[in-house]
Symmetry: C2
Subunit: 446 residues, 2 copies
Amino acid sequence: MKVVVVGAGLAGLSAARELHRAGAEVVVLEARDRVGGRVEGGEIAGCPIELGGTWIGEGHTRMHGLVDELGLETFRTWNDEGKMLIQLGGKRALVASTKGAVPRLNPVALADLAQGLARFGRLARSIDPARPWAHPKAHLLDGQTFETWVRRTLRTPSGRAYFRVATEAIFAADAGDFSLLHALFYAVSNTDLETLLAVDHGAQQDRVAGGSVLVAQRLADGLDVKVSTPVASVTHDDTDVAVTTRAGETFTADRVVVALPPTLAGRLLYDPVLPAWRDQLTQKLPAGTVAKTFAAYPTPFWREQGLNGQIASDTGPVKVTFDVSPPDGRTGVLLGFVEGSEARRWQRLPEAQRRQAVLDSFVRYFGPQAADPTAYAEKDWSAEEFTRGCYGAHFAPGVWTAYGDTLRPPIGRIHWAGAEYAIHWNGYMEGAVRSGSSTAQEILKR
Amino acid sequence: MKVVVVGAGLAGLSAARELHRAGAEVVVLEARDRVGGRVEGGEIAGCPIELGGTWIGEGHTRMHGLVDELGLETFRTWNDEGKMLIQLGGKRALVASTKGAVPRLNPVALADLAQGLARFGRLARSIDPARPWAHPKAHLLDGQTFETWVRRTLRTPSGRAYFRVATEAIFAADAGDFSLLHALFYAVSNTDLETLLAVDHGAQQDRVAGGSVLVAQRLADGLDVKVSTPVASVTHDDTDVAVTTRAGETFTADRVVVALPPTLAGRLLYDPVLPAWRDQLTQKLPAGTVAKTFAAYPTPFWREQGLNGQIASDTGPVKVTFDVSPPDGRTGVLLGFVEGSEARRWQRLPEAQRRQAVLDSFVRYFGPQAADPTAYAEKDWSAEEFTRGCYGAHFAPGVWTAYGDTLRPPIGRIHWAGAEYAIHWNGYMEGAVRSGSSTAQEILKR
C-alpha cells in the first residue's frame, strides 16, 4: 500500500512512521524546509528554546514513550523555587505553583472563583470528548460563548478576570471567540482545567532536553520526507489519490493523510471538491492568535526574588510567562506569551515597539533588571504561511453541534490528522501524536 | 492604469465597469464558465428562475438604477392576494404581508415579541454600520451569540421561535452561529429587521423580468471578462501585481481587486503572504448554508386558498417559502429555502430523499396539491466550488471587534470587493454593487 502524508508535523510524522512500520510505502510532503510544523527549535544566547510546542504533560504517555524510544530525555519545567505571581485588577498575589492553586483574593472573590471552577468542572465531566455534540444539552452549551458563561457564572471582577486570563493562556483566543461547549470539550480532553493550567502534574510538566523539535527530527529519520514541497491539490476517486505539489510534481498513492491545521487543509484544491459540510467545517475552524517572545539574561534573577518566573496577569501584552532557562540555570530565559486580542494589536506594531512592549511587561512583573536582556526573540505563529495561527483551531459557537461529526471521518481516500482531531490531549503534542497514530490505524484496518 | 479583477460577480463587474469607464485597462478573471457569481439564472417548466440572488429592495437605488440603465425591467414580488402563513409551535396563523406585521399570537407571546423587536431595533439604531466595532459596548455585544440575546430577551417559546426563524431566513445560519453585534450591524446596514423580512417596502420587493442574472450579463457586456479562468495566486509588491491562473497564465497590473467571498479570498496564494490579521480575518468569515429549492405546478393553486405563497415556519427542512411564479401567473412556482442546520442535515441526504423532504414541507404548508409538481429543481450553494456557501459570510462572536477594521482596507495593491464589504445593504445584490463601486473609487483616487 502506498500513502502520501501531507505535512511533517508530529501528527503527519507519527502517522507516516506507523504506516511505514506496518509495511506501507510512505512519502511525506512538507511545505517548509524543516520538519516539525508547529514544533520548531530555536536558540537564544546559546540556549535551545522552543519557538512552538514545548511541553509534555503528566499523562502524555505517547510523547513520554517516544522520548524514551528515540533516545531523548526530559527535564522538569522550572517550578521548584519561589512562587507564581498573579496580577488581577491591579493587585499582586503570590501563589504556590501547585496544581489547582488559586490566588489569594478577598473572601467574596475567592468564593466566587471556587464555585465557578466547581461548576465548570462538573459540566466538563459530563462531556464525552469523542462526541461533544451528543451531550443532551449540546445545543444550549454550543449556542453561547464561553464569555457569556463566565459573565453569568462569575460575579466578581477578579473571578471573571481569572477565567479570562486562563482562557487566553489555554486557547490563545478570547473567551468570546468560542463556545462554552468547546471550552468544556477542551478541558475534559485534557483531563480538566487545573491540569491545563498546571506545571507539576499538569500539561506543562516536562520539557525535552535539547528541545521538542528533536522528537520530530528523530521521528523523521528513516522516513521519506520531502521538505520544501508545498502541496497544491489532491485528486481522488474510488481507486487512488494523486497529490500534486505547487511545483507541479505528482505523487500517486492508495490513500492520503492530510496532516495540516484544518484551516490550511481547507485551502488545498480537491478534485472532486469536498462535500459541502466538510468544506464548511474548515471554514469554521480558525486558528488562535499567539506569539511567543523570549528574553535572555545573564542569570535567572527572578529566582532570587522568590519568583519562579510564572505569571498570570490581566494586563498585556504579555499576560503569561514561564521560566524556560536551560536546566543547568547557566542563563536566564523568560518566555512571554502574547495571545488573542493582545496579539492582534501587538502584531501590527513595528518590530522595535513589539520588543519594547514585551520588555515593558517583563519589567512590570520582574523589575528593572528585565529591561535589558542580552538577547530577545519572538515568533508570531499567525504570520507563518504554513501555519497561520496557534496553538490550534477553536470552535466558534454552533460549530461542534453542526459539524462535529464531520471532523474525523475520511472523505473517500482522504484521511485527516492533527492535534485538532485528537480525542484526548487535544491541542498538545501528545494529541498530535495520538491523532496521527489513530489515522494510521484507520488506514491499516481498510 | 491596469487593473485585474478576480471574480465576475456583481461586485467585481461593478468595479470593473466603473474602472473601465474611467479609462483603466481592466481584465476580469472568472473561475466559472459564466458571469454572475452568486447570481445565477435557471429555468423550471419554461419559466426563468433565480438560483441565487433574486431581490431588489426598496431603497436599493444602485440596482434600480442599473436595471434602468441596462434596459431591463422589474416587477413586484408576488404579494398581492392572500396572506402569509406563519407556523410556530404547531400553531398556524395567517398574517397580512405588510411590512412589520407579526403573527397573531396569544397576548403574552405578542407582548413578548413586541418588546423583543423594540429592544432589538433600539440597539440596532445605536450601531454605525461603517464601524460596528466602535460602539461603546461593542465588546459586550460581540462577546455573545445572537441566540444568547434571544434567550435572554424573549421569554415565550413563540417569541423565541419567531426570532430564530427570522434569523435563519436572513442569515442562512442559526442564531447561535454569529454574534449579537453582527445581527445588529446587518439589520442597520439594511435599515432594520422589518425591512429585511418584508416584501412590499422591504428587501424582497422587486424582481428583474427575465431574471437577475441579466444584470450581471449586461454589466459584463463590453468588458474583457475571461471565464473558466480560476485564479491561483497573487504576487504583489510596491510597483505592481501579477495574478496567475490555475492554468499558469499570468496577468500583470497596477492593482488587483479580489472580488470573491472572504473565505475564498483567503484561499488564494499571496506572495508575499497576507499579514496575520488579514489572513485570520478570512479564517473567521465562514459562509452561511442555504439551498434554494423550486417546484413548478400547472397553476399557482395556493392563491385560490387565500395564501400568497409566503411561509415562515419553525419546522423544516423548508421553513421559508415565496411565490416566484412568472409575472403573468401562467405557471405556479414555489421557492423553498433550506437553511442553516436544516441545510446541513438535508444536504447529506440522497437526491430523491432531498426532493421528497422539500415536497413534504410544501404539502404541509399548501396541501396535497403540492405533492406532485411538474418539475423540481434545487441549488445547494455550499456545494459550489467557487462559492462554498450563501448568502454570505457571518461574523462569529469576537470577529467584528477583533478584525472589523481590517475588513475593507487594501493590502498594498490588493483591494477587496463583495457583498460582505458593503456598509449599506450588506449581503444583497445592492451591497455587492455598492462595494464594487467603492473599491473602484478607492483605486481611482490613488
